[in-house]
Symmetry: C2
Subunit: 406 residues, 2 copies
């Protein structure tokens, strides 16, 4: 409530508000301060008045009532449900208004962004990749806009996955209106709708770029599907780079204007994405472990690792394998860190040794492991290469996707 009151105080931005809280030691002490103390802290008169007279708290109470009426929660900066990823931003919002499943905000996800005027290729790729990623437990973040955003949300739903829309309007104001039903489906499927803007905020062009930084900020990485030369997507991609997020892009025919954005991003170092595996392999190891711990998801581990004969692997080896990438060597420290305390480092070394031995006998699993043992040695590059081929064939045959993603 106090964070919300700060957010609603006129003349006080989120950065200044956070510095103020630091200055007073806590948000409680800030609200216990007198008008004179507030002005002495360098607050503008209008802000100090609003805080000191209790006007800000009144606004906050009204806002909470409005939110409750619309079925929304207010998640403040110090709330455990506040997304940790967002706190890494330069200027995280003080509060988020949330409709739906608050817990989903803490789960790892990928932002999917692109043009409002996609080609059928763009729509198809957005739906397909969102579906494939959501099926593996990643949350799909997007902005509910027409075009690629909508296709991304839909794709996640077709995998019965979770998807979150970040609004540039008040959380109860659906824009564009035609997506009202889509929002209902998202909420029903355990997703959410969030906004940093107060209840009742209508669509205004200046709010959408502000919103975009939340979309990228909540995500591990940003996937750009189609974007023309001058576009908001470009801004989101720049945000992502500044926020130290991975940028992924789906290439396209250079004769398609909408491919300009992704192709240019790839030139500039974004990772080229042809299938969901291209994103999966870049996820931090701890995220991959969270998404496929054991049991029910284990069959998916086999799917990720193209040529790998799962039946031959021990449970230890399976866990290690889940951390490997198909076309890049993985440092042993990363594996040890990812698996502690489940596996001791001696367990890990023993498994690697067995794998190295199997390699002599042409066991493919062993050859995959050898990437860690030998680095980029020739024989291993060959396997990485084969792995990639296999990955692509599967994708062509759609063998790996849930049937709903095809």
């Amino acid at each position: 409530m106090q964070w919300l009151a700060l957010a609603l105080t006129p003349g006080l931005g989120p950065g200044k508000a956070r510095r103020l809280v630091e200055f007073f030691g806590s948000v409680q002490s800030l609200f216990a301060a007198s008008l004179t103390e507030l002005e002495a802290a360098g607050l503008r008169a209008v802000s100090a008045q609003s805080l000191g007279t209790g006007r800000s708290m009144e606004l906050a109470h009204d806002e909470v009532a409005k939110a409750a009426a619309a079925g929304a929660y207010v998640v403040a900066y110090d709330d455990p449900a506040y997304p940790t990823e967002l706190k890494q931003l330069y200027d995280p919002p003080l509060v988020l208004f949330v409709r739906g499943n608050v817990e989903v905000l803490a789960q790892p996800g990928i932002a999917l962004v692109g043009t409002r005027h996609p080609t059928p290729y763009g729509v198809g790729m957005a739906e397909r990749l969102a579906c494939d990623l959501a099926a593996r437990g990643l949350v799909i973040f997007s902005g509910l806009a027409r075009g690629v955003d909508t296709a991304g949300h839909r794709g996640a739903l077709s995998a019965k996955g979770k998807t979150v829309a970040v609004f540039g309007t008040g959380v109860e104001i659906i824009y564009p209106r035609e997506n009202a039903k889509l929002v209902d489906q998202m909420l029903a499927m355990g997703g959410a709708v969030i906004s940093e803007f107060p209840m009742g905020t209508f669509a205004a062009p200046q709010n959408f770029p502000i919103r975009n930084r939340i979309i990228s900020g909540m995500s591990i990485g940003v996937l750009v599907i189609e974007a023309a030369e001058y576009s908001g997507t470009r801004i989101t991609a720049r945000c992502a780079l500044e926020q130290n997020r991975d940028v992924f892009a789906v290439p396209g025919n250079v004769t398609n204007k909408n491919s300009w954005g992704p192709n240019t991003l790839i030139k500039q170092g974004a990772k080229l994405v042809a299938t969901w595996e291209d994103i999966w392999e870049e996820l931090p190891p701890q995220v991959r472990l969270t998404l496929m711990p054991e049991g029910a998801n284990e069959s998916q581990t086999g799917q990720t690792a193209s040529l790998f004969q799962e039946a031959e692997l021990s449970p230890h080896e399976k866990k290690i394998f889940a951390l490997l990438k198909a076309d890049e060597s993985t440092h042993i420290d990363e594996i040890v860190e990812g698996l502690e305390p489940d596996l001791s480092s001696s367990d890990i070394f023993a498994a690697l040794f067995r794998a190295g031995t199997k390699r002599q006998g042409e066991a493919v699993a062993g050859e995959e492991f050898c990437k860690m043992l030998l680095g980029a040695a020739d024989s291993c590059e060959l396997i990485a290469f084969r792995g990639q081929n296999a990955g692509f064939s599967k994708s062509e045959g759609l063998g790996e996707s849930p049937p709903s993603c095809a």
Copy 2:
């Protein structure tokens, strides 16, 4: 003639033949050697016999007669017309059979390769890029195969440019037959047809991969347009990497099987190509200088450098500008090396200083220069960015291409 005799000697490969010449000090001394000396040098009996008895020279005379009858020259390894680029290969052929303009072999060129079953997008991009590059004086090397090869040769011809087909057959045997007229046009336009295989060699599958190493070996870089998963293009791209050639690739929709090759190459570090400028900017500075020295070609310099107001530049500045890339900083040493002895390094520094001063006044040319002075400073990145945009718009509007390339 003697090199040709070596090439036609049974049981003697090009590598061994070159080592033999080194052993004897010259090809003349080798042919002056006795049968005993030849056998002592480690030659197989059949090879020594053929050389010692003069049989090899007879074969060479016959071969030259056949070549002459078909209007072909024989260019030996020590001939000044032998392509210097080829000599860098691990196993350059001892002789090349050439029909057409022998001089074209010494000119800088780009190999254009891809599938025999392209989509209309692949055909269009091959014709377009070959046309744009040939219009700027680059030779287009390819293999005359159906599909992308044919489109590449055609594109070069539509710019009235030079293009060279490397055959996997004898130089007088056109494969596929339907390209006979295309070959006539290539020869008429100052291009050439070359082969390392003796006259009369018919199409045989094992010869085409051997031929591919010549296509990439003759070129500064290899441009891959469309290639499916298992393809000869892949072999050519691998050759190019081993030969230390730049690999360029045109991205495409991931739903197009033929985009698998280029997209995978881009993942692996090949340079993404949307327009001819993407290749141009990677050419070695001395090649760019050769292709646009001064005078007639100078207007093209302006085309390359998107936002740059040519009228404001002195002749010195123009020369320097020709060496700059649009989206990457160029080290001053590279500029000095590229322009010596035409310009002294003090001329160059003076021009750069003037450019740096102009920059204060927002002269775009100056801002481009600042990339060298300031490296990747922010203000310069902005320009590089603008330059790229501009490059793409031009390409969309086709404003830059010769009308025949559209």
